[in-house]
Amino acid sequence: MNSFIKTGEPQVFVCGTALALILVMTLTLAGVVLKNGLGYFWPRQLVQFEMKDGSRLLGEVRATERNQLTGAGQIQIKISNRDLYGQDFKWVSESDVASRSVPEEAILLERMEHGNFAGFLKKVEGEGVEYLRTGSAVKDLALAVEAVREKMKEVAAVRKKMISLNYKIEKRRREIQKLKFRDISANSAAISALEAEKEKLESEFNRINEESGRMEGEARRFYGLFADASGTEKEIALADIIRIQTPNSMSAPEKIGAYFERTRELLLDDPRESNTEGGLFPAIFGTIMMVLLMSCFSLPFGVIAAIYLREYAKEGIVTRMVGIAVNNLAGVPSIVYGIFGLGFFVYGIGGSIDRLFFPERLPTPTFGTGGILWSSLTLALLTVPVVIVATEESLASIPRGIREGSLALGATKFQTLIRLLLPMATPGIMTGMILSMARAAGEVAPLMIVGVVKLAPALPFDGNFPFFHMDRKFMHLGFHIFDVGFQSPNVEAAKPMVYITTLLLLAIVAASGSMAIYLRNRMRKKYTTSHF
């Protein structure tokens, strides 16, 4: 036995097993997320169940399992039509099913509200007249929906003007507030001028509002008459229909087309139905912008601090203590940073900014509330130790000969740093940077208290001057997972969205990780110092 251990084989075996275990767990995680995330957009069959009691159900089969008490088989069906049934899902016992069929003409509608509708199309009507164009009811519906959508696009364009107008009105209102706060009598002329401007904008706003209302009302006069599996009729305004599918008669290319269309929507559109449907664009945008903003703070500060610690600070007890403290900072629970961020950045600095620059708006806070700036700063604080450690280590790994060679030629320490050390340390700094970006992208706890919200009314970046609105709250993929998965009123329906969001977040982190490795290898090739 003793001699067997001395051969070293068991140790190798233990190490190998540990590695294999980790690999299996990682791959399982990735596999589960991939399977559930990637499959969701694929159009599924609508199955019609004839029950033994004579009722009918139409929906997608989501799961089959054995009842834990009775042992009988049961099926989970996504029956949709939340407005009719009050729920999206239904469990039926397999023994209650008389027969199943896959009706060709079954139709699935994605709607603005109340989730999907699964059923059959009866007719399309507009202004009391049946809409007949092609002879095929479904094609008619598609045409009519397309026509209505064009109109709704016009409405949306007008609404966009309203947002911009609203912003301008708000700006005037604040200016008036400011002037009044300072000195009403001295600024009365300016105030009345602003009031006039504001009124003009407001009347413009009202006019547009009415116009858009009228346009929408016109569009809403077109509707489709549908029936569910049991024959209950339902009128649905075409303006509410986002997508029409007849999954039972779709060909493979059509399904692929639908798949990519949904993916596009996911990446580029706004969420709907309390985030459980629609796109993730604001969350993706918020995550990336927050991470980039964070890098703008943590990279320079981290690198400069590391340079001081490594190149200028005298070796000694203080330097060592600082080094230890920096390493420990990386291990502080992130929620602690969140609370610190709330107290220091939001209430402390933000509150002071409000008192100094926006006293007229108080008690409504401007910077004294969570926002993308404070979130970025909080996360920068959280990730700066990673950058410091990475920079310090890559500076330390530069051979002494390089420094001495440069100094011996009459270079100052600073010149050596700029011309040789920093370029050589760049691969290491980049690695630290991207690791910290990945960490920041995945962090949720601190963000919840310093500026992330479930649904942000506007992106932190838009066409209104000054374009970046640092005080705005924003959406974040990590928080989105938490919110949709655990805070949503309709958890079962939201499940696929959770998987997809997770997949996207993992993809962003994995992509940044691979980018780090690629960049590091490229730069390493350039800066490797040969020793003979």
């Binding site: 005298k314 390089i402 060679g405 030629l409 270079a411 003979f532």
Partner: protein, 259 residues
Amino acid sequence: MPQTVKTDPKPILSVSGLNLFYSEKQALKDINLVMRRNQVTAFIGPSGCGKSTLLRCFNRMNDLIDSVRIDGSINFEGEEINTPSTDVITLRRRIGMVFQHSNPFPKSIYENIVYGLRIAGVKDKSTLDETVERSLRSAAIWDEVKDRLHESALGLSGGQAQRICIARAIAVNPEIILMDEPCSALDPISTFKIEELIEELKLEYTIIIVTHNMQQAARVSDVTGFFYMGELIEAGETRKIFTNPEKAQTEDYITGRFG
């Protein structure tokens, strides 16, 4: 071959009463030595005898170590250089250094050579080009690298890299070149090339070389100093040191009885 010096040339660097301490430990004890213009001075002695430490006093490289304390005088061309007010940057430009391990920067050969000029603020392209050719020719490596000046200097062999480092040192036109065991990591052929180079370089520069290799000291130097335990045991004309040393310790070392 060592040459006999007919008349002593002008002194360029003189050390008197130099003591150096690393924290408590004394590494150099009362060194008195004069180095002369256009001569090759070799420092020999066993490891840890202080010869490299003394060499690094001349361009103040010991400043990089916090715990070092130096007292005594080093006079360079009539100027005291061992004072806090000495302009170290200018001093290092006038006294260049070549290290034991070749240390080309991770840049092109061209950029390596012009590094000293660039940090001094020289921007004129023709000056830079001229310097590169002159330095590389002086370091006897022009023919080997002239076609790949803009390739990385990291791809060179050890001997070539060391000659690039010598070229880099002479590019800023120093008066003295300090060499700290420049051949200890090189094969015999590269060593031979560097030794030939030293012969040529001394026509223009003053060279102070630290070496472990006594044959090398005998081959290239005009004056040799023998160090032992931080003390300068004996210094004099190389031929005399190697054939007829005054001190028994020197003789023991040179004949290989210790060290």
